[in-house]
Symmetry: C2
Subunit: 107 residues, 2 copies
């Protein structure tokens, strides 16, 4: 595993229109750097991996287990494994999602 | 553990002048959101935790095990446990560091 990973060499993901991500995997974690266009909706889903979602720019409406909160730049959410969650970009935004263990489905 | 963590309620860290961080812990990970003023140096250090460093704004010169690389917005580094590393902010920058397991020393 290489130490330095330029953005251009990361795995690109586009799960829904308006959501563009770059993914990097370490031995025990996956880090995803997302850009969402305003209005983008990532429909409800879940996974066994623990997740920390950190908004680094803009405003994201995040629903976790039926509770919705607007997260602004600097705010975060801790999402336990197997808990359903969905996201809607209130404004254009950037999010860093971290997962443990590695998201093998995002390789 | 609460699901939603506003930036203002995160643990604030200021390890060296010019480096300001907000820290959030999940059960298995620690996520640190750093702002570095231009020229800030985080001296060489190491820890047993695996780390992923993702630059979200600006340029950071990161040295890992004696190898230095300039990371621009979107670039990352994977730092294995116990590997010495240091950082210098080439410009004002923001970085998201993720650690596994939890950094108990940052509680």
């Amino acid at each position: 595993m290489e130490t330095f990973v330029e953005s251009s060499r990361m795995i690109a993901k586009n799960p829904v229109p308006g959501a563009n991500g770059r993914i990097v995997h370490s031995p025990t974690m996956t880090v995803a750097h997302w850009s969402f266009d305003a209005g983008t909706v990532l429909p409800e889903h879940s996974h066994p991996h623990e997740q920390v979602a950190l908004v680094v720019e803009g405003t994201l409406a995040l629903t976790v287990n039926g509770v919705t909160r607007n997260l602004n730049a600097g705010d975060a959410a801790i999402i336990p494994g197997n808990v359903p969650h969905e996201a809607r970009a209130v404004t254009a935004c950037r999010i860093v999602d971290t997962f443990n263990p590695v998201r093998e489905d995002l390789r």
